[in-house]
């Protein structure tokens, strides 16, 4: 990192090489579109590398890059109202009225939300189950179990209270389990 901050192109390339797979994988599972995930990954790295001098070494570099990547994905999903967003509304919605008010309306393109999920790479049962999670749950569960982050690291990365992270992860695992068990029956 120190080398990269001094402006060595080779160090920049090494950072891209080291983090391109984890960052791309997170984004791909968030937006479920390869080309779009690659655009967002590129945007993430450009933002990170152009802002490298503002990096504060007391934070994990990977946390910083995942934070930027996740923000890019969430911003995109919010703007475009993609079908990767939950059909059930905001995670903070507690009443049926709140859920209806915050739920997404899908466009009438003749495609179901699961059509895109049926792609080759993301077509396994567990990937389909992840696709059904709310984006906020998805980020948390992927950072926890794919990237091996602690709850505290996820809270710091996603700027969420620790209790919220725990709740999201427990709910996410519960939803995944129910979905996977239903498919097996």
């Amino acid at each position: 990192m120190a080398w990269a901050k001094q402006g060595h192109e080779a160090a920049f390339r090494e950072l891209v090489r080291r983090y391109e797979r984890p960052v791309f994988s997170l984004l791909y599972r968030m937006v479920r579109d390869r080309a779009l995930a690659e655009d967002l990954a590129q945007e993430t790295f450009i933002k990170v590398l152009n802002g490298i001098k503002s990096y504060r070494p007391e934070f994990k570099f990977s946390s910083w890059i995942f934070k930027i990547a996740n923000n890019a994905a969430i911003d995109h999903l919010r703007k475009k109202s993609l079908d990767t967003l939950s059909l059930d509304g905001s995670p903070s919605a507690e009443t049926p009225e709140q859920m209806r008010a915050t739920s997404l309306q899908l466009g009438g393109k003749g495609e179901t939300p699961l059509d895109e999920v049926e792609s080759r790479e993301l077509g396994t049962a567990i990937e389909k189950a992840i696709a059904r999670l709310r984006p906020e749950y998805r980020s948390c569960i992927l950072l926890r179990h794919v990237e091996g982050y602690s709850y505290e690291e996820i809270a710091e990365t996603l700027e969420l209270p620790l209790g919220t992270v725990k709740t999201y992860i427990h709910r996410a695992r519960n939803e995944l389990r129910v979905y996977l068990e239903d498919r097996r029956e």
Binding site: E9, R13, R21, E38, H145, V146, R177
Partner: protein
């Protein structure tokens, strides 16, 4: 630490699934079919998650990124590419 006879918490089940739960609490599982059932089901999901592959972007990704990055020179100037 929770009493050995208390059911496992969600956090403890996750620790157990990762092989990190202390022996005393893990012992509870051998006596409690309810916790064992929940823990087994939870472990299956966690195992599936940790085995997920990482995907790679298309070839030349680093080149495409580097073409759009301003590389700072050691003197502190930014070099447009």
């Amino acid at each position: 630490m929770n009493h050995p006879e208390m059911h496992l918490t969600t956090d403890e089940i996750e620790l157990w699934a990762q092989g990190l739960l202390g022996a005393q609490r893990a012992f509870h599982l051998s006596d409690c079919s309810l916790c064992r059932d929940i823990a087994d089901r939870e472990r299956k999901v966690i195992l599936e998650l940790v085995q997920l592959p990482r995907f790679a972007p298309a070839d030349g990704f680093a080149d495409r990124v580097m073409a759009k990055v301003k590389v700072p020179t050691p003197s502190g100037d930014w070099q447009e590419r």
